[in-house]
């Protein structure tokens, strides 16, 4: 299962494993997972939104 979880320090982890969804985690579709991995999107208040500070492009 793919999911995102926000740590106590505010950092969002994008995770995948075969265990039950942890408490407080946000299940992700494949496309949502890829969006978050790209860095072009971030998880904010439980919603996937455009990253206002996206990584620099070559």
């Amino acid at each position: 299962m793919k999911y995102a979880i926000v740590r106590q320090d505010g950092v969002t982890e994008i995770r995948e494993d075969s265990y039950p969804l942890p408490e407080g985690a946000f299940p992700l579709t494949d496309s949502q997972y890829d969006e978050l991995l790209s860095g072009q999107y971030i998880l904010q208040n439980g919603q996937i939104v455009v990253n206002p500070n996206p990584p620099k492009q070559l």
Partner: protein
């Protein structure tokens, strides 16, 4: 051919003419105490369904990623700085391969002396072995980069008998401005 188990009454008899009952259940559970030798060419057939191995089964996969958009801050390095945990995974008992990548992001004026990354069993601490980390040194005067750097870290094989946490560690030594670290740690249960 007829095979008789026992030899005296009562005994169990199997023969080539024995047919499987339509009500028979598939073989499941139990422990095979001898070696399992599949065909050398067919081997063990893998999945084609895009699914995932169960937790505890060979092939189980675990990953955790902190993307560049949520990178962790690195301290301005001093001699005491040993690295910063980017993310971690918890592995149950088994024989695993762990692999990953680390990225270091910079501000426009960040002057890097060194950058490194690796997998460790201690949070905020690079492995003490150079062979178990990826490291770049940029010289005493440092180097200002115009974009992120990212690199793979050495694959680690572990055979563990109890649940253990593995940390993805990022490290940078720099003299100006700020730096952050991001990356991905992944593990595959091999047996």
């Amino acid at each position: 051919m007829t095979t008789v188990i026992g030899g005296s009454s009562p005994s169990i008899t199997f023969s080539d003419s024995t047919t499987q009952s339509t009500a028979a259940l598939p073989l499941t559970g139990g422990t095979l105490t001898g070696a399992l030798t599949p065909s050398t060419t067919s081997g063990i057939v893998g999945t084609t369904l895009g699914d995932n191995a169960n937790a505890g089964s060979v092939g189980e996969y675990i990953s955790s990623t902190v993307a560049v958009g949520s990178a962790v801050s690195l301290s301005t390095a001093t001699g005491a700085f040993t690295g910063k945990t980017i993310t971690s995974i918890s592995l149950t008992a088994g024989d695993w391969d762990i692999f990953g990548s680390v990225g270091i992001n910079n501000a426009s004026t960040t002057n890097f002396i060194a950058a490194a990354g690796g997998i460790s069993t201690t949070s905020d601490t690079l492995s003490s072995s150079y062979e178990q980390e990826t490291r770049f040194s940029y010289g005493a005067s440092g180097l200002v980069l115009n974009n992120v750097i990212s690199f793979v870290v050495p694959t680690l094989r572990v055979s563990i008998s109890s649940t253990t946490t593995y940390y993805l560690i990022g490290y940078a030594q720099f003299t100006v401005s700020t730096a952050t670290a991001f990356g991905q740690i992944m593990a595959r249960r091999r047996r």
